[in-house]
């Protein structure tokens, strides 16, 4: 006997993501979900970003890490509240799903915040599939990873709203054509803004920070 089902597999996740989105809209909180491969420099980028923006915004951070608290310790030094999610002590989940984010947000004092930053688990595959109620998805690559990544992980680059190419200070030491990075990202997502920067030296950070500020301010000042 055949039973017709026709149900979206991720409907449970997506329903929670919509709840989060609604709650954040009512509270006028802007939330970004930052995704990248491991070692591309997410934590450095985020601590520099937080330090640059904390005078203008009330920031809270959610950090997903498979089995250490290193990233949250580094981000706590910025002085903003950080919630750490350990997916599993021996290397568990490879992404943050909406229910995990909902739980983490409940640990932040949301009434005092207007910008929430999620540092997702380092992975270019799995997090792309899970909406978590964020306003913008940000994907980051670093120069040494190679310019073919957008074509290898098209879903991630297609669903993202902004892309960052980090570690451009290494360009003189690498046989890499930076223009090809941008070209490949635009092949998958022609409209996406791309920020080339070095979180370490600060080069190119202004364009990224201005974009983020503008997007956040638009949401925070909008009438809900």
């Amino acid at each position: 006997m055949e039973i017709k089902v026709v149900r979206k597999v991720l409907s449970v996740n997506d329903a929670i993501a919509s709840e989060i989105k609604k709650a954040l809209k009512a509270k006028r909180i802007f939330m970004i979900n930052v995704m990248s491969s491991p070692g591309s420099g997410k934590t450095t980028l985020l601590s520099k970003t937080i330090n640059a923006l904390k005078k203008d915004f009330q920031i809270g951070v959610v950090v997903g890490d498979i089995c250490t608290t290193r990233d949250s310790e580094r981000l706590s030094e910025t002085g903003v509240p950080v919630v750490q999610i350990n997916t599993e002590p021996f290397g568990g989940d490879c992404h943050l799903a909406a229910n995990v984010i909902q739980e983490a947000l409940s640990q932040l004092e949301l009434s005092r915040l207007n910008l929430v930053i999620i540092e997702n688990v380092g992975n270019l595959v799995c997090p792309a599939e899970f909406d978590v109620g964020e306003d913008k998805k940000i994907v980051m690559l670093s120069l040494p990873e190679g310019d073919d990544k957008p074509l290898k992980y098209p879903l991630m680059f297609r669903v993202s709203n902004a892309a960052i190419i980090n570690k451009i200070d290494l360009a003189p030491h690498l046989e890499i054509d930076k223009a090809q990075f941008v070209k490949n990202i635009k092949k998958v997502n022609p409209e996406i803004p791309v920020f080339e920067l070095s979180a370490k030296t600060g080069q190119g950070m202004d364009a990224w920070l201005n974009w983020l500020k503008k997007e956040a301010e638009t949401k925070i000042s909008s009438q809900s």
Binding site: M1, E2, I3, V6, C126
Partner: protein, 123 residues
């Protein structure tokens, strides 16, 4: 390996659709779009592992891959993209909307009913 979370969701949805009395699930049909991050073999492996000792143990997992179809905002043409390069094959515009290819659906399940009367006109 987010295929494991997806497999758990699939099993959850399957169990919600089963009749109250004990049955065996023989087949689960899914539609998986090209532009999803699901690897069919990994998914099958996860399904086998978590379905063990339950009604869906040993069920055949049939995965229909849905092509990546886009519609062009400039010329209106619908095309299939065979690689992740979002340029209209007809007019080279980059303003494309994904029509299908992001799907991740359970289409149907087939069960073997313990009760012969109930499945007499089934298969």
């Amino acid at each position: 390996m987010h295929e494991m979370s997806i497999a758990m969701d699939v099993l959850q949805i399957v169990s919600e659709h089963l009749p109250a009395h004990p049955v065996k699930v023989t087949r689960i049909r899914l539609k998986v779009g090209k532009l999803t991050a699901v690897v069919p073999d990994n998914f099958r492996f996860c399904m086998e592992a978590i379905a063990k000792d339950g009604p869906a143990e040993g069920a055949e997992i049939v995965i229909e891959e849905a092509p990546l179809l886009v519609e062009c905002e400039s010329c209106g043409a619908q095309s299939e993209l065979r690689e992740p390069v979002f340029i209209c094959p007809n007019c080279e515009s980059t303003s494309l909307n994904v029509v299908s290819g992001r799907d991740l659906f359970i289409e149907s399940i087939e069960i073997e009913d313990g009760n012969p009367e109930e499945c007499a006109d089934g298969n």
